[in-house]
Symmetry: C2
């Protein structure tokens, strides 16, 4: 039996994404993933609850980064500045070496309506968590809801740019650019 | 066999909502709805594809109102003004006599996770349709995506206020108020 080995999680993720890309998410079994990664199925389940979790595994980390970005921001910031701090903090998650993984992941998700729904629910949960974090910093309910939705919109639109073919700018740069566009849009 | 009668659709909606509220969405059958509305099941299916559609029947009308609001706005408006025109147009959908139905509907949805997911998907589809409509008015892809997300956020937050107990303001007034809050939020 394969024991815990450094890099097993990453290998399982890599192999899963290859298989999903080759044959579609639905058609791939955990047995096939385990076989190609040269581990047992049991080892797979030590890392992931099911094959879908291979794709959505980072969700908690991402939400945590947004919430921590708000919680750790200095005092005296406006709701929008708090949202910008959350976006900056979350950008650390999208290091350049993650870009090709994110591209391949997105392509799998775009080919499967159920995964697209899951992705939308993920963004809604992110907005709700961010709204709570803003309220804990004293932002009123309504403003917190708006600022959280804005941040998620900026995040989503920046992410699409970040994974576009040939894009070189970092997630942080893109988010700042989109946030500026948003401010120009609403100041008219 | 019951033939088409004026008000049958409305009676089916009313009776469905009563039953969903009494016993939960999942537990209610189309047979029960038809029985209480004193029509045949076949009549029910002449109006709705299934019991879920009783709740989501207005979706196409709402999306159409948003899109028409953009399409019919005068020339020379900014993206945000186009979004505001869409919101105003959609507000007509939420006449005061609809408020108690909307409250009861919301309470059914909040008690059923699958219906909540459906509601989120509905809002995502609305944002996508609105973004397309804005692009047809010459707004760039990125600005259209942002403005559409903003409008849906304003709509969602205003709707929660509109159905709150004791709320008297119209959907149009609430949306304008939330849009102003949004502008104040992003101008800092």
């Amino acid at each position: 039996m394969a024991r815990w080995q450094p890099g097993t999680r990453e290998r399982l993720q890599q192999v899963s994404l290859e298989l999903f890309g080759e044959r579609g998410f639905d058609a791939v079994t955990v047995a096939e993933i385990a076989q190609r990664a040269q581990v047992t199925e049991r080892t797979f389940y030590r890392y992931f609850a099911d094959k879908r979790e291979v794709l959505f595994d980072g969700q908690d980390t991402l939400v945590h980064a947004f919430v921590a970005g708000v919680g750790e921001a200095p005092a005296g910031l406006s709701p929008l500045e708090l949202a910008a701090a959350a976006l900056d903090r979350a950008a650390d998650f999208f290091a350049d070496e993650r870009r090709s993984w994110s591209r391949a992941r997105q392509s799998v998700i775009e080919n499967d309506p159920a995964l697209q729904e899951r992705e939308l629910l993920k963004l809604a949960a992110l907005s709700a968590a961010l709204s709570c974090a803003l309220q804990e910093r004293g932002v009123s309910n309504q403003r917190a809801g708006l600022a959280a939705d804005l941040a998620v919109s900026v995040f989503r639109i920046s992410f699409v740019r970040w994974i576009a073919a040939g894009e070189q700018q970092s997630m942080r740069e893109l988010q700042r650019d989109v946030l500026e566009t948003l401010q120009a849009l609403t100041s008219s």
